[in-house]
Symmetry: C2
Subunit: 613 residues, 2 copies
C-alpha cells in the first residue's frame, strides 16, 4: 500500500455507560460475567494470595509474597471489570468487596507513592532496576482500574492511589531524570486515561516520554540479557516513530500501538500516524489469523516471520486479541476508518470470545485454529492475565458500538442496544438499534435527536459484506443516495425524532482462502458467515479421524439456527468429499462439549475451477 | 478432472406444455414475443422473400429465389415458435397464417421428398453435392417445426412433409448408400425428435449414422475447400466418439453435442458419454464467457484457442448461447447433474437474453462483453438465424423448469410456474412454484401429488450460491436432513397434497475473477448477483470515458430494485476509485437506452489483500 498520510479525524468514543446492551447474543454473556466470571476471578485472586499480597505489603498481614511479580495486575483488572459491571448495574455486595480490596491496595502503597507488592515485600532494593519486572505494567493496570472505579462510583480512594503512583513515576523518570524502557507496555495508555479524567497534562506527557524512550538502547534487565529475546521482544529495537513492522511479544506490541494511537488522537503527530499505518498494515496483511488471533509463537508469545501462521501451534493469546480491540478501536476513532472497526468485530466474535467457555469459568490462554483433541480451557492460570482481561473486556463492550464523528455519529458494532450520544454540535441523540446479529444481517436503527437537525449517520459496512439494501426515513435510498466512505455508508440528511434506518446486509457463507504465502493454509479453506468464523469439531463427526477428510470445491452450506445448541448458534451443514455430512459450528464455541479434534482450515478437494472465470 | 464414467440417469424432460409460467420476469417477455416478435419475424420473412421462396419453388409464383440458401430455416423456426406459442394460448389468426405458410412449404416439396427452395429454384443439378449448402440443416429445422406444430395443433400436414423429407434423406444416404457430412449440424437432433413422435426407429438410426459419418474424410464442399476452415470448422476433424476438445463453428458444435447427448440418453453409449464429458469440461473450463457466451471469433463464428476470451471482440453468437441451452438441458437429463442446469440458467439470464431488446423487435447477432459504444441491436439480419432462434426459444422456456427423475422429480429452473408432472411411478404431481427469482432467492414450492406417496424432490443448488435455508412440510430441515447430490438438495420423504417446501438461497453480490490464463480479464472483476451478470453502461455515467475508471478491491454494493427501469431490474450501486457512483445494470438489459460504452469486466484497483487470508 502506498504510504499516504491518512487524515486524522479524532472522533470521540462513546462510553459504554451511555450504551445499554439488550442483545440476545451478548446479554447472556454479560449475565455469566456477573454471576460467574467476576465472583470466580475474585475467589481465585483470594485463593492464590493475589489479594493477600497487598495486605502483606501494607503490614496488615504477616507473610511472604505469593506468586508471580506481576500478580497485582490481575487484581486491578478484576477491579476494573467490577467497575464496569457496577456502572451498568449497582451491586452493593460486589462494591463492598471492591472497597475492601481497594483499602488493602492503598495500604500497600509506600510513602513515596511506589506500589508493587512483590518488590515491597521481597526485594525493596531491586525496585526500578530490572525493566522487565512489570512495575509500571502493574501500575498501568492500577491506573485503569482507578479511573474506571472512580467513573463508576465517584469514589476517589483508588484514583488517588493511582495519581500518587503516577506522580512517583513522574518524579523518578523523565527528561533530565532516569531513563526507563518499561518491559511490558501498559502504563502509557493508562496514563492517557488518567490525563483524561484528571486533565493533568503531566500524565500524557509522561506517557509520550515513555514511548519516546524506546529504541535508544536504554533497556536494562532480563529481556535485554536474554540472547533469545533482545530488545525487539518488547519493541525496544527502534524508536517508535520509526516502527515499520510488528515484532516481539504480541500483547506488548498491541499495548504500545494503542498508546501511540492515543497520542495521535490527542496531538495529531504525523510521524506516529505514519508508523501506525505501516505497522497496522504489516500486522493484518501478513500476521493475523482469520480469527483475529495474532502472535503465532509460544516461544516469545508473539510474532515470528511474515505469513508464519501455523494452525495447531497457533499461540494467539487471548490477551493479544483483546489488545487488538484496544488498538483498533482507537485507530477507528483517530482515523475514522471502518476497517479498524472490522478488526474489532473479528476479534469480538472470534479470537477474543473463544477465550472463555460458555459457562464463564474456563479459559483459553492460547487459541489455536486446529487441535488434535488435547487443548482445553482451564479454570485459572499461574499467569492469569487472560481471564482477568476478559473480566474487564466483556463488561465494557458497549463502548465499541458507536462513535461521535465530526458531523454526526458512526455505528461501529451492530448489537441490540440503546444509546445516548451527544454530537459534536452539542445535540443529544438517542439511538435504538435492533438486530439479530451476528446471525442475521438485518439492522434497524431508530434515531431520536433532541430536536430535528441535519447530521450524518455512518453505518459500518463490514468487510465480509458485498451487498446491502438500505432504507432511511421510511423510503428506500435511491440513486447514489448513500455511498461508502472509508468503510461506512454515509447518510447525511435531516433527522427527526423517530426516524428509522433499515440496513440489510447480505450475510452469505463465505469460503475464505489464505494468501498463497501462508504455507499452513495452502490447499485449505475456512468458512465464515457474517463476522463469525466456523470450525469443525470431532463430537459432531463421530468416528472421523483428524484431517482425514476434505471439502469439495464449491461446497454449499445449509444454514440452520439451533437455539438449544451451545447457547444458541447458527450452524452450517455441508458434505465432505464422500458425501458424509459436515457440521460447522462457530469457532468461538468449540471445546464446550466432549473433547476432540477441531479444525478451522479444512482441506479442499483439489479440482480445477469449473468455469473459465 | 479425472475422466470417470458418470452414471447415466436418463431423466425425462417435462414438456413446456405441462408448465404454465406466471413469472414477473418471464411473462412480460412472453407477451412481447406474442405481440411483437412473432408477428415481426413473420413480416420480415414475408418482406425478405423467405416465404415467397416456397411459393416460387412450388410453382405458385413466378420468380427467382431470394436471399441466402439457408433462408428456409428461418421460416421453419418461426413456425416452431408459433407452435409453442399456440400450445400456451390458441390464436386463430396466427394459426391460419401458419397453415397458409405450411401449404406453401408442402407445395415446395418435390415428388421424391426433397425440400430446399434454393436448389429447387436455382440449382437443381447441385442438390446434395456441396455438404456446406445447409440442405440437411434446413431439413432439420423443418422437422423441428413439424414436430412442434403437430404437438401443438394435432395437424399432420407439416409432419408428413417432414417425414417425406427424412425418408428421402434416409433413402439417399446411409450404410451402403452415399456418404454425407452435413456442414451445419441440426438434422441429427431433429431426427431424434421425429423418432420420438413417430416411433419410427429409422429416424434415430439415421441421426446416429450422420453423427458417425464425421471425422472420416468424407466431407466435400465449400468448408473443406477453404484452407482457413478445413474439417474442424464443422467438427469433421475426428470421429465424434474421439472428440476431446471443442472446436470450430460454435453453433454447429453445440448442435452436434446436443444430438450426441440425445443418443446417449437413448442408448447409453459410453464412448459418446465420455466424449461429451471431455468436450463439456473443455468448453466450460476454458472457452465460456461469464455470460455463458461461447465462440469468441467472428472469423469462424467459433472457437480459437483455450482461454482466448476477448471482451470487445467477443463474437458470442446468440444462437450459440441458445444451443448451449439445448445441449446442457439434455446433459442434465442424461446425467442427472445440476451443473448442466446451472449453465442453462447462465444462458437464460445472460448470453441468450441479451440477444433481444426489451421491445422485442431488435436483435444482437453478436454479444460482446464490452463495447466502446458502436454495437447495437438491429431489427433483422440478412442471415437472421438469431432472431428466429429466439422466437422459438422463448416460448418453450417452460420445458427447462422441471425434470422427472428415477425416484421423483427435479426442479431445475426457478420461475413462478404451475406444472403437471407424471413421475416414473405413474403418480401425477401438480407443482406450484412461487418466487421473485432472479432478484430474490426465496422459493416456495407447493407439492400436490394425486395421492400421498414417497418420492424425492431435487432442488437445484445454483453454483453461485453457497448458503441456503430449507423447510419442508412446515418444519425446518434439521440435522443432515437434506444434503446435496450432484448439485441438488434432495428431499426424499412422504409427500401429501399441499405440502410446502421453502428454499431460501443466499443471493449475495459475487465478485468474479477470471482464471489467470484469461489474459483479457487480468486485473479485472465482474459482478454477478444470483444468476444475473452485471455491466456498466455509459448512460448511467455521463461524462465518463471508456475504461478510465476502476473499482476498488473489496467494493460493496447497494442492491436496489427499480421496477420502472429497463422493465424492472435490480441494480447494484458502488463507487469507483475516486468515489464516483457506479451503477451496474443486468448485462442482458444493456443497449436499451442511449448508445454508449458498456463493460462487464471492470478494472480492479490493484491493492494487496487486506488480511493474511
Amino acid at each position: 500500500m502506498a504510504e499516504q498520510q491518512a487524515k486524522i479525524h479524532a472522533w470521540q468514543g462513546v462510553s459504554f455507560t451511555g450504551v445499554t446492551i439488550n442483545d440476545e447474543f451478548w446479554l447472556p454473556r454479560l449475565k455469566v460475567l456477573r454471576q460467574t466470571m467476576l465472583p470466580d476471578c475474585l475467589s481465585k485472586c483470594e485463593e492464590t494470595g493475589r489479594i493477600k499480597n497487598f495486605a502483606k505489603a501494607g503490614g496488615l498481614l504477616e507473610g511472604h509474597y505469593e506468586g508471580k511479580y506481576y500478580n497485582d495486575s490481575d487484581v486491578y483488572k478484576v477491579l476494573e471489570g467490577i467497575a464496569y459491571a457496577l456502572m451498568s448495574e449497582r451491586d452493593a455486595r460486589l462494591e463492598a468487596e471492591a472497597d475492601r480490596i481497594i483499602g488493602l491496595i492503598a495500604a500497600a502503597q509506600e510513602e513515596d507513592g511506589y506500589l508493587c507488592a512483590y518488590f515491597t515485600l521481597e526485594n525493596p532494593e531491586g525496585k526500578w532496576t530490572d525493566m522487565e519486572k512489570h512495575e509500571m505494567y502493574n501500575g498501568g493496570h492500577l491506573i485503569e482500574a482507578a479511573v474506571a472505579y472512580y467513573e463508576a462510583t465517584g469514589k476517589r480512594e483508588l484514583l488517588e492511589v493511582a495519581c500518587r503512583l503516577a506522580d512517583h513515576v513522574d518524579g523518578v523518570f523523565g527528561p533530565g531524570k532516569r531513563h526507563w524502557v518499561e518491559g511490558h507496555q501498559e502504563i502509557e495508555l493508562a496514563l492517557v486515561k488518567l490525563y483524561r479524567v484528571t486533565r493533568a497534562e503531566r500524565y500524557w506527557k509522561l506517557a509520550l516520554w515513555l514511548l519516546e524512550e524506546r529504541g535508544h538502547g536504554h533497556g536494562v534487565g532480563a529481556i535485554w540479557d536474554n540472547p533469545e529475546w533482545g530488545p525487539a521482544y518488547c519493541q525496544d529495537d527502534v524508536p517508535v516513530r520509526e516502527i515499520k513492522q510488528v515484532t516481539g511479544h504480541a500483547v506488548r506490541a498491541m499495548y504500545l500501538y494503542t498508546a501511540m494511537t492515543d497520542i495521535v488522537h490527542a496531538s495529531g503527530d504525523s510521524a506516529y500516524a505514519e508508523a501506525l499505518h505501516r505497522v497496522w498494515t504489516h500486522t493484518v496483511e501478513r500476521n493475523m489469523y482469520i480469527t483475529g488471533g495474532i502472535g503465532p509463537s509460544r516461544h516469545n508469545e508473539g510474532f515470528t516471520s511474515d505469513y508464519d501462521l501455523p494452525n495447531e501451534t497457533a499461540y494467539c493469546e487471548t490477551c493479544a486479541a483483546i489488545a487488538m480491540v484496544f488498538w483498533n478501536h482507537r485507530m477507528n476513532l483517530t482515523f475514522g476508518d471502518g476497517k479498524y472497526a472490522d478488526v474489532v468485530e473479528r476479534e469480538m466474535y472470534n479470537g477474543v470470545l473463544s477465550g472463555i467457555s460458555l459457562s464463564g469459568d474456563q479459559y483459553f490462554y492460547e487459541n489455536p485454529l486446529a487441535s488434535q483433541g488435547g487443548h482445553h480451557r482451564v479454570p485459572w492460570f499461574e499467569t492469569s492475565c487472560c481471564p482477568t482481561n476478559l473480566a474487564r473486556f466483556l463488561p465494557s463492550l458497549g463502548q465499541y458500538a458507536y462513535a461521535v464523528t465530526e458531523d454526526g455519529l458512526a455505528v461501529n458494532q451492530y448489537m441490540n442496544s440503546e444509546a445516548e450520544l451527544v454530537l459534536a454540535s452539542g445535540l443529544g441523540v438517542r439511538l435504538k438499534l435492533s438486530t439479530r446479529y451476528p446471525w442475521k444481517g438485518r439492522i434497524e436503527l431508530e434515531v431520536n435527536p433532541a430536536a430535528s437537525a441535519e447530521f450524518s449517520i455512518r453505518l459500518r459496512m463490514p468487510e465480509w459484506c458485498r451487498g446491502y439494501r438500505l432504507e432511511a426515513g421510511g423510503a428506500r435510498i435511491g440513486g447514489a443516495g448513500a455511498l461508502t466512505d472509508q468503510g461506512y455508508l454515509v447518510l447525511s440528511r435531516h433527522w427527526s425524532p423517530g426516524d428509522k434506518v433499515v440496513l440489510e446486509l447480505d450475510m452469505p457463507v463465505n469460503i475464505v482462502r489464505a494468501k498463497p504465502e501462508v504455507e499452513a493454509d495452502r490447499g485449505r479453506v475456512a468458512v465464515q458467515r457474517g463476522p463469525v468464523v466456523y470450525c469443525l469439531e470431532q463430537t459432531d463427526h463421530p468416528g472421523w479421524s483428524y484431517d482425514a477428510f476434505s471439502i469439495p470445491a464449491g461446497a454449499t452450506f445449509r444454514v440452520e439456527h439451533l437455539p438449544e445448541l451451545l447457547g444458541g448458534v447458527t450452524v452450517l451443514w455441508s458434505q465432505d468429499e464422500d458425501g458424509r455430512p459436515l457440521r460447522f459450528i462457530p469457532y468461538y464455541a468449540w471445546d464446550n462439549r466432549e473433547p476432540g479434534f477441531m479444525q478451522v482450515w479444512i482441506r479442499e478437494r483439489e479440482e480445477s475451477g469449473l468455469y473459465s472465470f
